[in-house]
Amino acid sequence: MPDSKAIFLKDATVNAADGDQRAFIRKALGGYYTNRDLQKARYRDWERARDAASLAKWSAVNDLANVLEKFTANFERNGGVVHWARDAAEARAIILKIAEDAKAKAIVKSKCMTSEEIHLNDALEKAGYGVVESDLGEFIQQLRGEAPYHFVFPCMHVKREAISELFTKHLGTAPTDSPEELTMIARRHLRQLYVDADIGITGANFLVAETGQISITENEGNARLTAALPRIHIALSGIEKVVNNLDDLSVLLPMLATAGAGQPMTCYNTLYSGPRKKGECDGPEEFHIVLLDNARTRLLSDPEQRDALHCIRCGACLNVCPIFKNIGGLAYGTTYQGPIGSVITPHLRGLKQWNHLSGASSLCGACTDACPVRIDLHHHLLHNRRNAAKESPTLFDRAFHNGFNFVIKRPWLFATGGRIFRATLPLLQKLPLPYMGAWMKTRDLPKAPSQSFRDQWKNQNV
C-alpha cells in the first residue's frame, strides 16, 4: 500500500513553496468571497437559514433507513430501478452489468464525485467502454489524466493557455485564449457524444424521499443532456444524499449555490422523476439509481461525527481553507479535498492511513463558520486526532507528551526547566532538534528574557 502520508508531505512541501501557483488559486477564488457575501446578504438571516439547512439534513440522516426506504419506494413507483451497493466494487459491478445487458458502446457522464470515489471511469474503460466527461472542468481533467483539484471546481488550477494547448493536442483545434471560444470547442466536441451515447451517468445532489425524484444542480446544462438523451440513465449517489421533502430541498438548493459558488441559484436545478412514460416524446427508456454505502454507515454509527454526513458537497469549506489554498487540492490524495475530506476520509478509507490530514490543520475554524449545514468540521479534526492517538499511538508522541506532562505537573521543575531552556536557547536554536529545528528554518524566536514572569512577579510582590 502506498504511504499516503509520505506522498502528502512531499506534495504539500512542493506546492506550499510554489508562490505563483498559490497566487493563482487565491486570485481564482477572489471573486467568490465578494459574490458569496452579496448573496448571503439577500437572506433575511443567513444564520437562521444555516439552522434550517442543518435541520433538513439532520432529520434525514438521523432517520436514514426509513427515509431511504420511502425514497426507493417512490422511485420505483415512478418506474425507476433501485440498486444497493455496499462498497465501491459492488457499485462498479452493478453499473458494468447494466452496460453489458444494454450492449452499450459509448457512455457519457456528468459531474459525479461519487464516481471518482469508486474509480468508475477506470473500470468502464478496462471493460472496453468509451466514457467521456461532459462537465467542462471534468472534461479538461479527463484529458489531463488528473483527478479533480476541487470537488466543485475541478480544474480551477489550470491556466487558460494550458487548456488551449490541451485542446490543440487532443482535439486538433487552433490555439485561443478566449474562454468563450474554449468553451465552444468543448461544446462542439461533446454535442455529438450525447447523441451517440447509449448510457448517461450522473450523480445526484439530493434524493427527495417524498416524491422519489433526484435533484441535480449544474451550471452548464450538460447533466440535463446526459440524463435525457441516452437510452439509459444511471444515477450514482451516496445514501446520505436523501432529504425528506421538497420543502427541505427549497432551503438546500439556494444555500448550496450561495455557500459553494456565491450564486443566488445555480443555473440549472432539475428534478428527475423516472424514465420516459407512455405518451412522452423524450427521456431515457431505463432509469437506474445506484445507492452507495462505501463506509458511510460506519460514519453514521459514530454519534460524535455523524453530522459529517450532512455535507452537501458545496465546497465552501475548501474555498475558505488556508491549508487548501496553500497546498492545493491534489496534494490531499483523496476524492474529497479540504476540511470535509480531512474529516471523512479517515472514516471512509482508514484512520491510520489518513489521520495525517487531520493533523495538517491549524484548527482555525474558518471551515466550520463557512459550512451551510453547520458541520463541526475543525472540531472533528481534533476528534480524529484523538481517535488516532488511541487506536495507533506513536512512540514519539507518547514519549513527548508524557515527558511534557512530567514537567508541567511539577511547577518547580517547569520553572527550573524554563530557566535552563532560556539560558541555552541561543544554542538550542542551532541544533537540529525535533520541532524547534523546523520552526527555526523560516522564523525567529524572541530573545529569551533573563527572568520568567513568575520570577519577576515574585520579586515585585514580596
Binding site: 497546498i327 484548527l363 475554524g365 508541567i408 524554563g418 531552556f421 522564523r443 524566536l445
Partner: protein, 239 residues
C-alpha cells in the same frame, strides 16, 4: 474584583512582559491581581495532538489551581478557549465535569474581560502609533470576540487603527502544527504577515501571544519593519 491571572506557559518563559502588562492594566482599573504560581501549562499542546489523557490531567490540575478564584483572566484567546471550550468537553462525564463548567464560566480572555465583564473600553492609555490588528482564530471563532479588542484600541489616545487585508485569515501558528507541518505553516504566515506588513502600520497588535510568536518570528526573519505587540502592552502605556 479579585482577578487571578492565567499566564500562558510560553508567556511565562518567553514574553513575560505580556503578563506584567496585563496585571498593570487590571491594577490601574482598581482591581486586585493575584498569580497562583502552581499554574504551568493548560494542556493544549497535548489536547491538539490527540493526547487527551495527558490533556485531561493538565485540565484537572488547572481546576485545582484556580479553585475558589473569583475570576480568571488570561491574555490569550487560545489558552482561554482551551479552558472555556475544551475543558468541559475533555471532562464531560467525569466527576470533574461540574467544576470544569464552573471554571469555564469564570474564565475570560483579557479584552473580553475588560469590555464585556467590566464594561470598560477606555483604560486611560496613550500610544501614538499606527497599529493594525490580528484576530487570533481562537478569540475570533471559539470565543466570538471581534469588536472588543478594537473598541479598546480605538479608545487609546493617539492610536491609529488600520484594518488589514486577510483580516480573518489564520496566521498559520496552530501550536505544534507550526513545527509538524512547517512548510504549510510558513506559507500561511507569508500570506498573513505579508498583508500585515503592507498596511504600513508600526505594530501588529493581537490578543493572542501565540499568533504574535509566529507572525513576529516571520516578520523578524524577513526583516519587515512592523513589530508584534500584545494588546495588553498597548493598554499598559500610561496616558
Amino acid at each position: 474584583m479579585r482577578v487571578s491571572l492565567f499566564v500562558p506557559c510560553f508567556v511565562d518563559q518567553l514574553t513575560p512582559k505580556v503578563g506584567l502588562a496585563t496585571a498593570k492594566v487590571l491594577k490601574r482599573l482598581g482591581h486586585e491581581v493575584e498569580f497562583r504560581s502552581a499554574q504551568t501549562c493548560c494542556g493544549q499542546p497535548s489536547f491538539n495532538s490527540g493526547q487527551w489523557d495527558v490533556a485531561r490531567e493538565a485540565a484537572i490540575r488547572a481546576l485545582e489551581v484556580f479553585r475558589g478564584a473569583e475570576v480568571v483572566v488570561g491574555p490569550s484567546g487560545s489558552c482561554v478557549a482551551m479552558m472555556r471550550q475544551f475543558y468541559p468537553e475533555l471532562l464531560k462525564g467525569t466527576p470533574h465535569a461540574a467544576e470544569a463548567d464552573d471554571l469555564a464560566a469564570r474564565t475570560f480572555e483579557f479584552s473580553e474581560f475588560l469590555v464585556k465583564k467590566l464594561g470598560v473600553t477606555d483604560v486611560g492609555a496613550k500610544f501614538a502609533k499606527k497599529v493594525t490588528y490580528h484576530d487570533g482564530c481562537h478569540a475570533l471563532r471559539e470565543l466570538r470576540l471581534k469588536e472588543e479588542p478594537r473598541q479598546l484600541l480605538r479608545a487609546v489616545k493617539g492610536l491609529e487603527l488600520i484594518e488589514t487585508e486577510e483580516g480573518e485569515t489564520c496566521c498559520g501558528f496552530g501550536g505544534l502544527f507550526s513545527a509538524k507541518f512547517p512548510m504549510i505553516s510558513t506559507a500561511m504566515v507569508q500570506v498573513k504577515g505579508g498583508a500585515l506588513a503592507r498596511t504600513g502600520a508600526d505594530f501588529v497588535v493581537s490578543s493572542d501571544p501565540s499568533c504574535l510568536l509566529q507572525i513576529g518570528g516571520w516578520l523578524s526573519r524577513e526583516g519587515k519593519p512592523i513589530l508584534p505587540l500584545h494588546i495588553a502592552e498597548v493598554l499598559a502605556n500610561d496616558a
